[in-house]
Amino acid sequence: MLGIVRQKMLEQSLKKIRPAVSVLRSYSSAAKQMTVREALNSALDEEMSADSKVFLMGEEVGEYQGAYKITKGLLDKYGPERVLDTPITEAGFTGIAVGAAYYGVKPVVEFMTFNFSMQAIDHIINSAAKTNYMSSGRISVPIVFRGPNGAAAGVGAQHSQCYAAWYASCPGLKVLAPYSSEDARGLLKAGIRDPDPVVFLENELLYGESFPVSDEVLDSSFCLPIGKAKIERKGKDVTIAAYSKMVGYALKAAETLEKDGIDAEVINLRSIRPLDRSTINASVRKTNRLVTVEEAFPQHGVGAEICASIVEESFAYLDAPVERIAGADVPMPYAANLERMAVPQVIYHFSLFSYNYQYIYTHICIYMHANTHNFIHL
């Protein structure tokens, strides 16, 4: 078992000469800042402009300008035939959207949150995901289901669930989870252009966050490949795999770890289905350690799938068991202190001990609040 030789003194001195470049975002020609909201809005605008078959449907997407203002201005620009306000009847309007997709037009359905998608889940799974297969390719379903997913702030148990694992378990769906504005633009545009049903899981708390975007990202032809994860931060000591808002948390944790001499590699999954197993496995083969991070319920989750994939493909490379950090295994409470305990947080402390003959173990704990204490052992 390979250990990592680290000497705190050496590390400290190295830090002084290491270039002080932010490891968080490394876009080379970063000039403009764009919020995730603007990114989504511009992606929808451009795709509607490029293809007259694309239309929007959902509650409050038109005259209200979008419950979270993602579709702001689109009704004025494209008219009520292409931006449709629906009644509060998810089963009905989702079925209508899927039927329209059968015919060959391209709906983008907004769920005000994915919690409400459960009312329409039969149409997402049985009417959309499985139809291309059941018809042996005769009927494809070019539809996108998008909306905020996962926990927000203080919205309680019925409005806080993350559906990534549920949808990603179903063959026939593509499930995307953007983090940054670049992700939001590239993945939404790719999803709209894709001929298969796409579940696009946004995050309400990310809508207002700004990220730098390059000219390439701003171009109307910009698309990201579906099924490819992004290495947000290169490292060699531990791999942290996350999606959506947790990517930001993982990057913060990586900053903290760096101060303590641990070089974490952060993977932004971007695509939950297809899952980029090869990128995750290649990373773990390099770092020999894996932590998965998600806000969702832990059981049968994305982290569990990633762990299984590593065990299947890269078992011999693991120096320690895979750590799963997830939301608490309880319905989301309302009280602020309990809510904080129900989702991962970034809190740290570290201790240094255990000198062995051949190598030094450095014990660092990243203390992530969840139902139990989770540690990264190095």
Binding site: E81, P87, T89, G99, I139, D196, G227
Partner: protein
């Protein structure tokens, strides 16, 4: 006419009269005569929030023979499927349509292939009326490559997109919003066509139906909701499932028409009326009063919740094929023997298709992984043994 009847019934004088007879009976069932004939529907239409169409329906000999042939074919096909199921060549679910043929045939006569049809799982005959072949039906039922869904769908998942037939759905009621979605897309694409979304009396109580109807009425979609009321939702009679079994009235703000679903001409007239209405005014409901001779599916004998007398009664009084036979005979368009010959031909056609389907191979193993996506992105997928059975999705 009389001469040929004489000839066919008497074998002794057959030889003598044969040359003459063949000349006369070369006047085979007139399949191309389009001289108009007017028929009356069995009962008048009843309506809700709209006018009723006339009971007088324009037709001709050609159409009568087409109706007879198509319905007899469907009848024969479903009965053959019954035997195949009992012989274990068809597996899983098999929901048969015999008794309800007039709905499929009458509807098709009123519309074009630009109009869409979507139905539930009792879809074999609707598929055929949209242009599907017997081979495609039997091969799909037996899970073979020549099936309309290449063996991957099964009885409940027949599709024919080039004729705008969208299936074939196993979840009760789901096809109604899907059908309204097809209508939406037709309006969005300015295609000047309509969608018929068929559902049963069992599905008529589904919430999503009312959600879809609400949106269709708000947005003036050219959607026609057709309730094929065979009076039993699986084993539950309509009066046990619906507080109001007057399904044509259940649309409330949406107009509705009650139609004798065993009379192909009533169906045709109603569908013509509905298409015109839907293109101008939005959704309309058609309730087809029909009947299925088989149980809900092949696992249901169909006699535990209804009496045999009821079934034979309907068969004697209202059978759709018999109605057309009587019409043809009463208008002197063919003899009984000629019609029987057509049925013999049909029987042979069905048997040939079954023989062909039986010879057809099962899908290749690689087909397990095809069509999961329309665009597979070169992604890896796994079989039950994840180490041995892996594939790249095309």
């Amino acid at each position: 006419m009389a001469l040929s009847r004489l000839a066919s019934s008497s074998s002794r004088s057959a030889d003598l009269l044969k040359p003459l007879c063949s000349a006369i009976s070369l006047r085979r069932p007139i399949s191309t005569d389009t001289t108009p004939i007017t028929v009356e529907t069995s009962v008048p239409f009843t309506s809700h929030q709209c006018d009723t169409p006339s009971r007088s329906v324009q037709t001709n000999a050609k159409e009568l023979f087409t109706f007879f042939r198509d319905m007899a074919l469907m009848r024969r096909m479903e009965i053959a499927a019954d035997s195949l199921y009992k012989a274990k060549l068809i597996r899983g679910f098999c929901h048969l349509y015999d008794g309800q043929e007039a709905v499929a045939v009458g509807m098709e006569a009123a519309i074009t292939k630009k109009d869409c049809i979507i139905t539930a799982y009792r879809d074999h005959c609707t598929f055929v009326s949209r242009g599907g072949t017997l081979l495609e039906v039997f091969a799909e039922l037996m899970g073979r490559q020549a099936g309309c869904s290449r063996g991957k769908g099964g009885s409940m998942h027949f599709y024919k997109k080039d004729s705008n037939f969208y299936g074939g759905h196993g979840i009760v009621g789901a096809q109604v919003p899907l059908g309204c979605g097809l209508a939406f897309a037709q309006k969005y694409s300015k295609d000047e066509a309509v969608t018929f979304a068929l559902y049963g009396d069992g599905a008529a109580n589904q919430g999503q139906l009312f959600e879809a109807l609400n949106i269709s009425a708000l947005w003036d979609l050219p959607a026609i909701l057709v309730c094929e009321n065979n009076h039993y939702g699986m084993g539950t009679a309509e009066w046990r499932a619906a507080k109001s079994p007057a399904y044509y009235k259940r649309g409330d703000y949406a107009p509705g028409l009650k139609v004798d679903g065993m009379d192909a001409f009533a169906v045709k007239q109603a569908c013509t009326f509905a298409k015109e209405h839907a293109l101008k005014n939005g959704p309309i409901i058609l309730e087809m009063d029909t009947y299925r001779y088989h149980g809900h599916s092949m696992s249901d004998p169909g006699s535990t919740y209804r009496t045999r007398d009821e079934i034979t009664g309907v068969r004697q009084e209202r059978d759709p094929v018999e109605r057309i036979r009587k019409l043809i005979l009463s208008h002197d368009l063919a003899t009984e023997k000629e019609l029987k010959d057509i049925e013999k031909e049909i029987r042979k056609e069905v048997d040939d298709a079954i023989a062909q389907a039986k010879e057809n191979p099962l899908p290749e193993s690689s087909e397990l992984f095809t069509n999961v996506y329309a665009k597979g992105l070169g992604v890896e997928s796994f079989g039950a043994d994840r180490k041995e059975v892996r594939a790249i999705l095309p």
